[in-house]
């Protein structure tokens, strides 16, 4: 029955991902909100939407890498918090380490956290959810060592990295996200690391039997996630103008919602950044639109949760129909 087997081109493969559904939902949502609120389609508001998702977007960039390799990273929020508070302390009056060094230290902290997670997960062999649940708590605890300092960020350059608008409209943070997503997409498509990552997420036993350096690639994926968490931490202190030990608290759940909504499969092997980007816009637009419509906070949570389940359900039903063929 080989003749009957459907042929998949790149475009048909794309149609099978949840991304088209997401695009549809996004369009419907935009229409709905712009018809019900006259404040929605204003430049001011759109600017706000884009600027607000900067931190989540950067975190999602890293978590997507980990999840495609079949892993899980709950420690991103506290890693961002740690990188943020350490940098803001180092920038404090009286310490004033030069900004480039602060950035390097922040990124090293992020990568180190990722390395620790990766080593525990691959070399000790502890489940990634448990591992990162543990390191989530550990590094959040470490953040509180500086709790009494309340460092404010006066460094103008640091303030600017999260606050500039290109042409006074387009937030530079969105550009960061787009650059990160595009670069990672190219890495996924054109590099050995990307291919090996998808292979590991698709079938880890196979990857091991094919001689792919599974542990090394998984560790690297956590380091990449830590790297982006550190950048998110820098954006946090830039946008908020201070360092607080609780920054980034709970970000992991919001980011996981975005990433999974965007079609990254829990367990690995499938996902793309276009979907993640649209999911990011959807989640932020919902939050914003419902604020404008004065929807109570608890109802906003209900809507976000329902949307996640709905999109994943649509995807599951479509895939089931696909699988039934065989």
């Amino acid at each position: 029955m080989e003749k009957a087997v459907k042929k998949y081109s790149g475009f048909l493969n794309f149609l099978r991902t949840p991304t088209p559904t997401l695009i549809g939902i996004y369009i419907v949502m935009m229409l709905l909100f712009s018809l019900t609120s006259d404040k929605f389609l204003t430049i001011q508001n759109i600017k706000g939407i884009f600027n607000n998702f900067a931190v989540f977007g950067i975190l999602a960039a890293g978590v997507t890498v980990v999840m495609i390799g079949g892993g899980f990273d709950l420690a991103i929020g506290s890693t961002a918090g740690l990188a943020g508070i350490v940098s803001s302390v180092l920038l404090m009056k009286g310490i004033e380490i030069p900004t480039p060094y602060v950035f390097i230290i922040a990124i090293l902290i992020g990568c180190l956290v990722g390395l620790i997670n990766g080593l525990i997960i691959t070399k000790v062999g502890i489940n990634p959810i448990i591992t990162t649940l543990g390191t989530l708590a550990i590094f959040r605890g470490v953040c509180y060592f500086w709790a009494d300092l309340n460092p404010r960020v006066y460094n103008l350059f640091v303030q600017s990295i999260g606050r500039i608008y290109l042409g006074n409209v387009f937030p530079i943070t969105t550009l960061y996200i787009i650059i990160a997503f595009v670069v990672l997409t190219l890495i996924f498509k054109f590099t050995r690391f990307g291919r090996d990552l998808f292979t590991i997420g698709g079938n880890e036993t196979l990857a091991r039997l094919a001689g792919i350096p599974v542990d090394r690639i998984k560790i690297l994926s956590y380091v990449i996630s830590g790297f982006f968490a550190a950048i998110a931490g820098l954006l946090l202190i830039s946008q908020l103008g201070s360092g607080r030990p609780e920054y980034g608290n709970g970000a992991e759940l919001e980011v996981l919602t975005i990433v999974v909504l965007g079609g990254v499969v829990v367990g690995g092997g499938r996902g793309n950044y276009l979907g993640v980007f649209i999911a990011l816009m959807i989640i932020q637009t919902i939050t914003n639109g419902m604020v404008l419509l004065d929807v109570p906070v608890y109802l906003r949570m209900v809507v976000k949760g329902a949307l996640l389940v709905l999109v994943i359900a649509i995807d599951a039903i479509r895939n089931k129909r696909h699988l039934q063929l065989y």
Partner: protein, 502 residues
């Protein structure tokens, strides 16, 4: 086919009449009719994609037919879901067993149907154990009802599934490739159970690729091809050539093509190798040779080949490749020594099902695609395309997800991966398991092509006719030890089985 009658006066228990099932773009079943009598075993034979599974899933209520009628005990019956199929006494034992590993045999048998003591509505453990014992006794099996399923062998788990089926008064028992994971000996004990059930009036539908089993256990056999019924024969009045011809739709004179390839010098020598699962194994492999390894489940044959491939840690002993001593500590070292492994469970260990044909072919040797960290995509297409053509992988394109290929073509993709890596020693663990006859023959031919080109092959097989026809030399293992070595001209089915039980 009007003349499908059984000679004795048994009553017809099931008739599926003119069943058609259409999936988007595929007519999976086209006007297929079968009938089944009380106390008979009906074989259903066909290549992958012939419609066997679809037919069974309709009977089990997992699929809804598009047209046609189903009669049970002469009455028309609409199967709308699994519950109705169960209620009318249909039980299906799928290839993938559905036992729960943490529970005991008795708990598994009565899962969802626990025996309840009435006043307090609590589980009657004693009654359940007793009834489980009775059921196992009916089948003539010695199995402790309190044993934990996880500790049992595959065949024992299957026995538990059968016990579960008959505990709920199965009238029709469907078995989908039940022997795929069983050794010859275990197959025989399964047949004993089937015969016992038969004598108690249970009708059995037996699906298999293995012709030998069809001849041994079935009374009649229905052959499907491309979703259509080719015919139904009395097993006694048919022979394997005829059945293969019906299945494949062409005349196949020889199931096992054997060419004579000149055998060269020793390429691999294994001395006193010991690792988890086996002890002190020595053998050698020569250029152009197909070395068969035979043994029952648990004989250590898979542990041995995994050790040769660096996937099972070697405790003791030496491996020489082309005369050079080599410590193989990981699959990547084995790959670099030009050894390839086509593993036992191709879906779990051999393929990334969600990825395309080309990605699966190049994934073990991606370092060779361009010197940098980038993948040379054009070169990748070319290489994948070359293998697709050279070994005849039937796929619409190299981008096709391997998930949607047939078992035989999937197996060829796994093999292509190692050919692409330049493997000279190829280890195949049950290469034709779950592969249809047509593809089997192609795989045998391919193996011999490889030998002609100077590769050497180690093949594990538990199918006696296969190993006896394809291998040049056979070593037999039992309980982790080497027991005997045969030149294929001196080997016989009886001899191999005897050595495998030593």
């Amino acid at each position: 086919m009007g003349g499908d009658k059984v000679s004795d006066n048994n009553s017809m228990i099931l008739r599926m009449e003119n069943i058609t099932k259409i999936f988007p773009g595929v007519k999976a079943l086209d006007d297929v009719s079968i009938d089944l009598y009380k106390g008979e075993v009906l074989g259903i034979l066909g290549e992958n994609g012939a419609g066997k599974s679809t037919l069974i899933k309709i009977l089990a209520g997992n699929y809804i037919k598009d047209s046609g009628d189903i009669f049970i005990d002469g009455e028309k019956f609409e199967i709308k879901g699994p519950a109705e199929a169960m209620a009318s006494g249909i039980r299906v034992i799928y290839q993938e067993l559905n036992t729960i590993n943490n529970l005991t045999v008795a708990e598994n048998i009565f899962v969802g149907e626990q025996i309840i003591k009435s006043p307090l509505k609590i589980v009657d453990w004693k009654g359940m154990t007793k009834k489980a014992e009775d059921l196992l006794a009916v089948m003539n099996v010695k199995l402790d009802p309190n044993a934990i399923i996880g500790d049992l062998t595959v065949s024992e788990k299957q026995v538990v599934e059968i016990a579960k089926a008959i505990s709920q008064e199965a009238k029709i028992l469907v078995m989908d490739e039940p022997t795929a994971a069983l050794s010859e000996e275990e197959t025989q004990s399964l047949f004993k159970i089937i015969r016992t059930l038969k004598s108690k009036g249970v009708a059995v539908i037996y699906i298999s690729h293995r012709l030998k089993e069809i001849f041994e256990i079935t009374d009649r056999v229905t052959v499907l091809r491309d979703g259509k019924k080719v015919g139904t024969l009395k097993t006694k009045e048919s022979d394997s050539n005829k059945l293969v011809e019906m299945m494949v739709g062409r005349d196949i004179k020889d199931m096992y093509p054997k060419r004579h390839v000149p055998i060269g010098e020793i390429v691999m020598e294994v001395n006193n190798l010991t690792a988890a699962g086996f002890d002190n194994i020595s053998f050698n492999l020569k250029k152009g040779e197909i070395l068969g390894i035979f043994g029952l489940l648990g004989s250590g044959r898979s542990s041995l080949v995994n050790a040769l491939f660096g996937a099972n840690k070697i405790k003791n002993g030496d491996i020489f490749i082309n005369g050079k001593k080599l410590k193989i500590k990981s699959p990547s070292m084995a790959r670099d020594a030009r050894i390839g492994l086509v593993p036992l469970d191709r879906k779990a260990e051999g393929l990334a099902l969600m990825m395309g044909v080309k990605e699966n072919i190049t994934l073990a040797n991606i370092a060779d695609l361009g010197k940098s960290f980038l993948i040379a995509r054009r070169q990748e297409y070319k290489k994948a395309g070359k293998w697709v053509e050279e070994i005849g992988i039937r796929t619409p394109s190299v981008d096709q997800e391997v998930n949607s290929l047939s078992g035989g073509n999937q197996q060829k993709v796994v093999l292509a991966k190692w050919l692409e890596s330049g493997s000279q020693i190829i280890i195949l663990n049950e290469p034709t398991r779950g592969v249809d006859v047509g593809a089997k023959i192609e795989i045998y031919k391919l193996m011999q092509d490889l030998c002609e080109k100077g590769s050497s092959i180690i093949m594990i097989s538990s199918e006696l006719p296969e190993i006896l026809s394809i291998a040049d030399r056979i070593i037999v293992m039992s309980k982790g030890r080497f027991t005997e070595e045969y030149k294929v001209c001196d080997a016989s089915e009886e001899g191999l089985l005897r050595s495998a039980c030593l």
